[in-house]
Amino acid sequence: MSRRTPDEEPRLTGRGIRQSMSDLHSWAGLLCGWILYAMFLTGTVSYFKDELSQWMRPELPYQAQVPDQAAVAQRVADELGTLVPGSPQWSLRLPDARNNSVYAFWRSPARSADGRGFGEGQFDPATGRKVASRDTLGGDFFFRFHFQFHYMSALWGRWIAGVAAMFMLVAIVSGVITHKKIFTDFFTFRWGKGQRSWLDAHNAFSVFGLPFHLMITYTGLVTLMAMYVPWGERAAIKTPAERQQLSAELSVFIQPGRPSGQPAPLASVEDMVRQAQARWGRDNVGRVTAVHPGDAAARVAVSRGEAGRLSMSPQIMEFEGTTGRLLAVRESVGPAAEVRGVLYGLHLGRFSDAVTRWLYFLVSFGGTAMVGTGLVMWTVKRRQKLPDPSRPYLGFRLVERLNIAAIAGLSIAMAAFLWANRLLPLELPRRADWEIHVFFIVWASALAHAILRPAKGAWVEQLWTAAALLALVPLLNAVTTQRPLWRSLAQGDWIFAGTDLLCLALAALHAVLALRTARYRPSPRAAGRARGGPVAGGKLIEEGA
């Protein structure tokens, strides 16, 4: 048995519960760890999903100032009247400080050829026309993947995400109980001590962002709570009227009613949005939703934007569609709905100003590192106990290889997604889908590479590949668009400049990790122990198998 330092000396009292919690923490963290890592990293990036979407649609010009939302709403409403006449409902997300296009969703008058009863598209605020931009899902891909994955039904994906989040919650609570010196060791980092260093790093990433990690996991479950625990709602909400009332508490919902059958043009949408601007601020209108536009029974709802308010609960002004008369203003919901609205809002962080958004991003990135260091530590810890480290058992090899693909491989795949956005031919059919296919093909290749190569080599090669792909993104952008980094900086276009610079920063991070991994040699003491049995834990990476 190895000698213990005073720090490691177990206390007799309470060891039982701590040991159980430690085991629970290890296994709860491991079993869903790879999914959680992917959820965390894609979720982290999603704090900049609107900015990423702009970067991925370079044809849309840089928006130096938010255009007048009222005029834009009228333009796109007119366009939809031509594009989908007779649509029973459409909804617009207006441009704001983070969006330079209008996202529109509409229900089709009849089922379209592909069997869908709805359509969606991005519209140019300046012309009101559909944007002539490359077909891409933009940052929404990472956002959707983050909670429902891909190549499976959204329902299945959300259940898997929910189970993983529940494991995360268990891992966080059990981790706090396991970590016996949370305050004494708050700033402790023991450099070059193998497993100890890994534990200190894992603790630092966990403890510094603990309020965030707890909040984000719990609120993540709350966002889909109606799906996970539907029984209360089912017991309390029975009639269609009650269901509609519930919808109105949770989302921008207006009583659809029945169309009268009498055609009547929609009143000025611009005037309706102007009233909302007067109430909530010039750039603080969120959506415009019209029900039965073109019918005498039309209704229009204009909702408040999300900036500066914690709650996601809807705040709307409802208008009579044909006259533009204000029918009602709803700016509050019941206490239960408001609690849900605040928890939902906390998870998405859409209320954030630029600095708070960066704080969300950085602390969430720390959460990703927490999961990543936890995954690597599982192998570092067990490597010490391997009878022959050069021939680990199957479970160890499985975890080791999955770690490489899940951590380094995901970085490569995400960078490849950006490359695909710039390199796939614009006329390629189903281009947006192919960007996503490229992401998964590259990720699967990374897994194959991790299985075929020795572990250390696989880590180093994949980290270098990720570093190179990320470092070259600004160059790729400069070559394939009219908006190179130097021009973005000169224009003050922080959407493009920020994306390019962030890619460079992430490339540097991957390069440092690759260098440290490549340079790592087990210490003579560790090597000696390896020959005799257990080996001390390594740096980032386990030795080549």
Partner: protein
Amino acid sequence: MSHLVALVLCVAGFGGLALATDRQQHAVFGRALPEGVTYGLRIAGAAALLLALGSLVVRQGWGLGLVMFSGHTSLASGLVHATLIGYSRLHSSTR
């Protein structure tokens, strides 16, 4: 501006609290500081954190203020931690 003030106060706060711990006193000063100084650092550190919270709540209200405070404390503790690691690495390599 309120963000900058809050971050500076949080860094100062965590800096004080870190230097009030036995381990960091040995790492930075090579010895334990007198008890009075340790208490002083602890109180000053806690006060700086409370001041950061107060400055954010006054300007942003309780809801946004608390969210921003949580972000600033996480970032500041990370910055202080990284500085301490950097300092001890530099110190050990020049010794």
